[in-house]
């Protein structure tokens, strides 16, 4: 009997390139890199089929540190380049890595259209609420009042919520993670990878140099349990150090409110069960900022539909079927032609 040896499964470290990683020591990007390498190993990603595309920024250095194919492009345009790659070769497994400035300032338009078209890629948005690479100016996700080199008296403009933006653009997969969430982050990436179509993942990433601790209001050890809710499809949305809190739809409103289980006669049955396919629910979850209601972590929304490439392939097949000819020479001779005879 002929036994074909199964190729050795790749380990996370096999996805690391030989390049020295050059982020600031303590930068949240390191943790995300580790989680991505673990996710690639978990899903058994083929290096040769995998392409990481990025724009410009600290986050966008990502492709250099992986042993897959990588394209470090220009500021904000990674979604467009990735779209070109996917319409040319839909077989490739494309990941996009982007910062909050890259994806929501200069590249906001392209992200919108990548999502709207539902191009089958994973889009990872490293949100540190700051422009890291250009030394700390405020970004479109910075909270109003952020002091930075370009806003010494505090910024005036209101921040955009990446997740709400993605929902508005029509995303069919939305998840959220935190750099420090080493155990769960690879699973979030694996879920994004499994989803056909544009998968949008926001990762809160600490910039230790220019915006250290911006997320501490919901990531510090002592508040994690009460200020974060980790979603699971089909499970009631319960959180808290002792699972003492839950979410339910507020009376007469389309918003979630926090209730204490066991108080005022509230039981687990009153708590809303997370349904990933519920778009309205996803909007309500996106609204939660941590102060009065916990920040939603995990898969907020997942409801697949046909990807852009599938649509394009369908059109291609139809066009080929309808075409009167596939021969360019013949096409050039269609319609009115005339022949000049030898004199």
């Amino acid at each position: 009997m002929n036994v074909v040896a199964k190729p050795e499964a790749l380990k996370p470290k096999d996805y690391a390139s030989d390049q020295e990683v050059r982020w600031c020591p303590g930068c949240g990007d390191y943790a995300i890199l580790r989680a991505v390498q673990k996710a690639l190993a978990d899903i058994g990603a083929k290096k040769e089929k995998t392409v990481f595309v990025s724009g410009i920024g600290c986050a966008a250095r990502f492709p250099y540190y992986l042993s897959t194919y990588g394209f470090h492009t220009i500021h904000g345009r990674a979604p467009s380049i990735a779209t070109g790659i996917k319409i040319t070769n839909p077989e490739l497994d494309v990941w996009i890595v982007s910062g909050d400035g890259d994806s929501l300032s200069i590249g906001g338009n392209h992200l919108l259209h990548l999502i709207r078209r539902n191009v089958d890629v994973q889009f990872l948005l490293f949100n540190n609420e700051i422009y890291g690479l250009t030394k700390g100016q405020y970004s479109p996700t910075s909270r109003a009042g952020t002091r930075s080199p370009s806003t010494p008296l505090g910024s005036v403009d209101k921040p955009i919520s990446p997740v709400a933006f993605a929902l508005g653009a029509g995303a069919r997969f939305i998840a959220r993670g935190i750099d420090s969430m080493q155990k769960k982050l690879p699973d979030v990436f694996a879920r994004a990878h499994a989803h056909k179509g544009a998968s949008f993942v926001e990762i809160y990433q600490n910039c230790i140099v220019y915006n250290d601790g911006v997320f501490s209001n919901f990531t510090e050890k002592d508040v994690v349990a009460n200020r974060q809710i980790h979603l699971e499809h089909g499970k009631p949305m319960i959180f808290g150090a002792e699972n003492q809190f839950g979410l339910r739809v507020a009376d007469g409103k389309l918003a979630l409110e926090v209730v204490s289980i066991g108080e005022d006669g509230i039981t687990e049955d009153d708590i809303v069960v997370h349904d990933e396919t519920d778009r309205i629910m996803a909007h309500m979850l996106a609204e939660m900022q941590g102060a009065d209601r916990p920040v939603a972590i995990g898969v907020l929304y997942c409801d697949p539909m046909a990807s852009y490439e599938e649509g394009m392939q369908g059109l291609q097949a139809r066009a080929e079927k309808q075409a009167m000819t596939h021969d360019l020479n013949e096409l050039l001779r269609r319609g009115h032609t005339w022949t000049v005879e030898d004199a």
């Binding site: 380049i81 040319t88 070769n89 490739l92 005339w338 022949t339």
Partner: protein, 625 residues
């Protein structure tokens, strides 16, 4: 459907016709009068009659201009004759004015004692006022310098189609075919191709086909039987000497779409054409969008930046990325072009130039993006630039662009303009199956691979496409180490890479034909140097001047960058170098800076192509000095 007709070499028998070497006809009417269609049919009949020809449509800028207004006039011009027709003609011999606005707009282009065919049925007080006339020019003697055929074409058309039971509106729509029939008689054209075409077009509504054919025949009969002008028996235009073979009429936009497709087929690559709509570039996108069955993928992006980037992504993934726009859109693509230069990926950027700056005059023509193409980027970022000279030439330039882009792993900018894109000329249809292929060899060797390994001859880097195990690599816009392709900030390395990029583009000149003199002596008094769509008028002007005995030569440059290697030497053989351009002197400064030659410009930026006459005049003025 294909219709093949044969041009027979025959002697015209209708003897009393006045023989002309060539003629220019301009059809002008309201947007709804079907002038483009009429012009198209006349073109076909003229080609079948064995004349050489060139045409140009002139559309109103407004999408749906109000009926009867001067800015709603739609025109179509054709120049045809027995030899060397290279432009759609300066001024016209016959003006067809379907309404007062058309007369008002177009009269200035009519030759002295030229013929006007006007539909009196549309010269109502209301229409006259809309066109800005106080009185009726057909009656007040103001057209005495011309020969006027004033007929109530509207009524004659209604009479001719009466028995076909159309509504009044539909019946009036046959006016253009009545007029066409009339003009067919004037120039001795056959009606068969048009009646065939009508029968196919209206196959589902035979009564419309019959009515239009009746109108065509009626117009023809009226011209034939009535004394339309004193002693006028119609014109005869001898056949041109045309190389034998199968022909079609082709616009620049079609030829470019087909040329790029042919180029990708010869390179054995999938074409990925990414664009964002803009006048006058959109017609190429429209043509290619119907060509999915020929290995063409089209992508309408959200903007020009995305279009350029998607094309770069396509090339990165192993397709032939092509992006197309007009000057303002190409400006947006600038940064992406830099990425393609830095990552040394093949890319074709098509620029259908239009009058600028900014929005400028979108429907008018200009060749003012030469600086933008050659110089218009940050840093030292050389690319290859080619320019097409005529509608049919777009086919060859499209192929050449793909060949150079893939052979040298570089962006190639292709310049056309609104004039070339919309104009049509007869085209001896090439045999694509007989063309020399230039298949791309993707990198396959994993041993010692790095992405910036170069071909020692062309200096092109190796093209390694995702999907191949063992060739995984990272590239980007950061400077790369010459020997490993890794990121490098080393000063000496940047010098070396900059030099390599420069040398690679310069080396394209070793792979492209040397500059030839198009017409006239190789050494002499004056070289007239042109590029792009001014080829037609310059070529004809030089022809005429040579015939007058003047010593002039025509040099037409297709390879804008790098310039042909022998061009400097060639120019030094002339006492004077004159550069006519539809811009303020862009090729002029390139030539002056490259060759230290004391070249002089003839410049025109009116949104209109050069006329032959103004070029002749400009050259004479400079020869005299």
């Amino acid at each position: 459907m294909s219709t093949i007709s044969t041009v027979k070499k025959e002697v015209p028998v209708d003897a009393p016709r006045a023989e002309l070497e060539s003629a220019v006809v301009r059809f002008a009417g309201d947007s709804g009068d079907g002038m483009q269609l009429t012009g198209g049919q006349f073109t076909l009949a003229t080609a079948l009659a064995g004349n050489d020809l060139a045409t140009f449509p002139d559309f109103p800028a407004e999408i749906r201009a109000p009926a009867g207004t001067t800015f709603g006039v739609s025109s179509f011009q054709i120049n045809f004759g027995s030899h060397g027709i290279k432009t759609s003609g300066d001024s016209f011999d016959l003006l067809v004015a379907m309404n007062p606005a058309a007369l008002k707009v177009e009269l200035k282009g009519l030759k002295q004692s030229g013929i006007i065919l006007a539909d009196t049925g549309s010269f109502s007080d209301r229409n006259l006022r809309k066109a800005g006339y106080d009185g009726n020019p057909l009656e007040d003697g103001s057209l005495d310098a011309y020969r006027v055929i004033a007929l109530d074409i509207s009524q004659l058309t209604l009479d001719s189609v009466k028995e076909h039971g159309l509504s009044n509106k539909e019946a009036l729509r046959c006016k253009n075919l009545w007029t066409l029939g009339f003009i067919y008689w004037m120039f001795g054209r056959k009606r068969k191709a048009t009646t065939d075409w009508l029968e196919t077009k209206f196959a589902k509504r035979p009564e419309l086909a019959a009515a239009n054919v009746a109108a065509l025949n009626a117009g023809h009969a009226v011209a034939e039987t009535s004394e339309i002008l004193d002693g006028f028996q119609g014109f005869a235009i001898p056949q041109a000497t045309i190389s034998p073979g199968q022909y079609r009429a082709v616009t620049g936009a079609e030829a470019m779409a087909w040329g790029l497709t042919a180029g990708c087929q010869l390179a054995e690559l999938q074409m990925v054409f990414c664009s964002y709509p803009i006048t006058p570039a959109s017609s190429v996108l429209h043509t290619l969008s119907t060509m999915a069955a020929f290995g063409v993928t089209t992508f309408q992006a959200e903007d020009e930046i995305a279009a350029a980037c998607a094309a770069i992504g396509a090339s990165y993934a192993g397709g032939m990325g092509i992006t197309s726009s007009s000057g303002p859109g190409v400006a947006l693509k600038g940064e992406a072009l830099g990425l393609a230069i830095s990552t040394e990926l093949p890319l074709v950027v098509l620029n259908s130039q239009r009058a600028g700056p900014s929005t400028g005059m979108p429907t008018k023509t200009e060749q003012s993006d030469l600086y933008q193409s050659v110089y218009g980027r940050n840093a030292d970022s050389p690319v290859c630039v080619l320019a097409a000279r005529s509608p049919a030439d777009c086919f060859d330039v499209g192929i050449e662009a793909v060949r150079i882009a893939t052979k040298f792993m570089t962006p190639v900018i292709v310049l056309t303009d609104g004039y070339i894109g919309n104009a049509a000329e007869p085209w001896l249809i090439p045999d694509v199956a007989e063309m020399r292929k230039f298949p791309v060899n993707f990198e396959a060797e994993t041993e010692d691979f790095h992405p910036f390994k170069r071909d020692p001859e062309t200096l092109a880097r190796s093209w390694a496409v995702p999907g191949v195990a063992g060739l995984e690599h990272r590239i980007g816009g950061i400077e790369k180490d010459y020997d490993s392709g890794h990121i490098s900030y080393d000063p000496a390395n940047h010098q070396k890479m900059t030099d390599a990029r420069f040398a690679k583009i310069k080396g394209i000149a070793d792979d492209t034909p040397p500059q030839k003199v198009d017409n006239g002596p190789e050494i002499g008094k004056m070289a007239i140097v042109g590029w792009g769509s001014s080829y037609g008028p310059i070529s004809r002007a030089v022809d005429n001047l040579l015939a007058e005995g003047l010593e002039v030569s025509h040099i037409h440059i297709r390879n804008i960058w790098p310039l042909p290697k022998n061009l400097g030497g060639l120019l030094s053989g002339f006492d004077q170098v004159v550069v006519p351009e539809m811009n303020n002197g862009q090729m002029l400064t390139v030539l002056r800076s490259e060759y230290l030659v004391d070249a002089q410009g003839i410049n025109k930026v009116t949104g209109q192509p050069f006329t032959i006459a103004e070029l002749e005049e400009g050259v004479r003025a400079r020869l005299g000095g």
